[in-house]
């Protein structure tokens, strides 16, 4: 029983519900509980590389610290006992609680999202959305084509940069490159649209109409999926109880 094997649609729904619920909790203990609880579940029921997890966490950790800082410094005037002064602003207990709540919420959101993204294979997710989520195959297979197109488009973009540099467009610094990007958009889009049309023809020529298909890779729904979902919901329940108590 691992999060990797868990049905991606059920995993997605559970994680989304938890995040939605978190948005209504205005105390620091609920997000704190969810954050550490998620880490514990991830530790037990997955073999996610913690190094990778840590790298993904860095930008969100900075966001969390930023949220804490700005809420403390620029938070609106609140009544209550002044705890300390920060850059000439009075900081009350209410200010501190709000700041900690907001930044912990960022961390809890991130932990939940990473639990989903690091344990879900995009292909299985799309298959599962088609099978359990009743997603139209037309949309699902557009996503697959998108996966394939990404490296092709990237390659084309590099080629455009290179040929434009040969024409004498100044592209040495990163700033030059960013400034030149809009001019690459039209040729890139023109190429992409032509390719997209060709691939659509190719799909139809191979009998793809979006209807009457059979399914080879079945993504099952098992008892374990509901057990893991229940664990996540239970974690949320306990955290809410700890928060409002």
């Amino acid at each position: 029983m691992t999060f990797h094997e868990m049905n991606p649609t059920i995993k997605f729904l559970t994680v989304t519900c938890l995040m939605f619920g978190l948005a209504f909790m205005y105390n620091p203990w609920t997000p704190l509980g969810v954050f550490f609880g998620t880490l514990a579940l991830q530790f037990i029921f997955s073999d996610v590389s913690w190094k990778r997890w840590g790298l993904f966490m860095i930008p969100f950790l900075l966001t969390a610290v930023g949220t804490l800082w700005t809420t403390l410094v620029f938070g609106k005037e609140a009544s209550g006992e002044v705890m300390f002064k920060l850059f000439g602003n009075d900081v009350t207990e209410e200010n501190v609680m709000l700041a900690v709540t907001l930044s912990l919420r960022v961390l809890a959101f991130t932990a939940l999202s990473l639990l989903f993204t690091l344990t879900t294979d995009p292909k299985r997710f799309v298959y599962s959305l088609m099978q359990q989520g009743k997603l139209s195959p037309k949309i699902a297979y557009s996503v697959f084509v998108g996966f394939r197109f990404f490296p092709i488009l990237k390659n084309e973009l590099m080629q455009l940069y290179e040929t434009h540099a040969l024409r004498g467009v100044p592209l040495e610094t990163r700033r030059d490159r960013i400034r030149h990007a809009p001019k690459l958009l039209i040729p890139l889009l023109a190429g992409a649209i032509r390719q997209a049309e060709r691939i659509a023809f190719s799909m139809e020529a191979r009998g793809f109409t979006g209807e009457g298909r059979s399914t080879y890779e079945v993504i099952p729904v098992t008892r374990n999926d509901f057990l893991l979902a229940a664990l996540l919901v239970a974690l949320f329940g306990v955290s809410v109880w700890a928060g409002v108590r």
Binding site: R148, R198, R206, G207
Partner: protein, 443 residues
């Protein structure tokens, strides 16, 4: 399979017909469809597999029967179970990541029972001698291999007819020849229709030939195997010499050795080699390290940075452009967007850009891929004019008949450049064979 009587077709926005008065019957066997660009070959093809008229709201008049039923009585996708199609561009006909997933995708479309799918995949790969490719990533395959996989995807649905739209356009001669032999041996139980500019590569593959001329049938009869177009060496006006050094390039999977070429002003130079031998990498390296080299990429549109022709010519310098507009024959297109020009016009604009920026050497990257004879002749004339004006022309190609236009040759193999050779190169079969360039001895 197809029966057409006084068939005509036009796009809804155009008054003129793309196809006019087409009457013929496609019978079992192997049929070749030839014709210049814009003669309506591809349009006719898309009527066979019923991608048209629905996808373009085209207007069809006359009678068109597919398998003894009128074309408009078919549901979308219904005909495609009996007709498999392989397209020209190896890079834009796949949906999934691996060969196996791609084949499964096709079987799922045909609603094949889940339990049968794996066996069907094994069977088709075995039949086509492609079993080793089952778990390969499509992106990593060569152009020739991708076309073989495209054939496998078309045949796995067990169609009665297989259509191939210029399947060799992006392949080098050796790969193309191997592909034709493989198709000849593997696809014995299916009727085949091929669109091809240059049928000579196919040897005596076909039984029948239909030629389209400006949307009408110009010839319909037994296949006549003929030689490829021929090009004579361009007259050169040799001048002073210049030596170019090209430094080595090291990539993860590919190494290009350092090389040097000696270029005489007014010469025509061809660099030959198979796909993936490093020709294009070499050419880009040459252009990157020498400002006097002007590179015309395979799709000239990549060069353009402005949004009209006049501004494009004037980009990056303050020399007058009026004379150049006339010389490249684009004076009436001065306000047009460069991307809206035809392929030939784009190439002329690219040359105009190169001339105004005073490039000593104009270097073309694979200028002949997917071009018909008229377009090749236009390119030949353009190169002749450049040489007469005292510029040097260099091109990289695997098109052996067009290569004859050159006077000086270099060969590329596995990142190693050798040369220069003169025209006596063509009398050295061992040398050509070792570079994957031999076209003699084909069936």
């Amino acid at each position: 399979m197809v029966e057409a009587e006084r068939l005509a077709f036009r796009y809804p926005q155009d008054a003129e017909h793309v196809l006019t008065d087409i009457t013929f019957r496609l019978t079992d066997g192997r049929t070749l469809i030839t014709g210049a660009s814009g003669s309506g070959k591809s349009t006719l093809f898309t009527l066979f597999n019923r991608l048209y008229p629905d996808n373009c709201d085209g207007v069809v008049t006359g009678r068109l029967n597919l398998f003894d039923r009128s074309y408009d009585t078919y549901e979308p996708g219904e005909v495609n179970r009996r007709v498999g199609t392989v397209f020209q561009d190896p890079d834009s006909q796949f949906v999934m990541q691996t060969v196996e997933e791609e084949l499964i995708f096709t079987l799922e479309n045909f609603a094949v029972e889940r339990g049968d799918i794996s066996d069907r995949v094994s069977a088709i790969l075995h039949e086509l001698h492609l079993s080793e490719y089952r778990h390969r990533t499509i992106q990593d395959l060569s152009g020739g291999e991708k076309q073989q996989i495209a054939v496998a995807c078309a045949l796995i649905g067990r169609p009665e007819w297989l259509l191939l739209d210029e399947p060799l356009a992006h392949l080098d001669p050796e790969t193309a020849q191997r592909f034709v032999r493989w198709l000849d041996e593997s696809a014995r139980h299916v009727n085949i229709v091929v669109i091809e500019h240059r049928p000579y590569i196919w040897g005596d593959f076909f039984d029948r030939q239909i030629e389209l001329v400006a949307g009408r049938i110009g010839y319909d009869g037994p296949f006549v195997s003929g030689p490829d177009h021929t090009f004579l060496p361009l007259k050169t006006r040799r001048g002073d010499k210049h030596l170019f050094h090209i430094p080595k390039v090291n990539r993860q999977k590919f190494k290009l050795a350092a090389s040097k070429i000696s270029v005489e002003r007014g010469d025509v130079i061809a660099v030959l080699g198979r796909n993936g031998s490093g020709k294009s990498t070499w050419l880009r390296s040459l252009a990157r390290h020498h400002r006097e080299v002007g590179l015309v990429p395979q799709s000239p549109a990549h060069l353009f940075v402005e949004n009209n022709v006049a501004r494009e010519l004037a980009y990056g310098h303050d020399r007058p452009i009026e004379d150049m507009l006339t010389r490249i024959g684009l004076e009436r297109m001065r306000a047009a967007h460069p991307l809206s020009l035809s392929h030939g016009q784009k190439r002329r604009l690219a040359i105009g850009v190169m001339m105004l920026s005073k490039k000593r050497l104009i270097a073309f990257d694979e200028p002949t891929a997917g071009q018909d004879e008229a377009s090749l002749r236009a390119l030949y004339a353009l190169m002749a004019e450049r040489v007469q004006a005292g510029q040097t022309v260099l091109f990289v190609t695997h098109d052996l008949s067009f290569a004859r236009a050159a006077n000086t040759y270099y060969l590329m193999r596995d990142g190693q450049l050798s040369g220069p050779y003169d025209a006596s190169l063509w009398d050295d079969p061992d040398l050509l064979r070792s570079h994957g360039l031999l076209t003699e001895g084909w069936r």
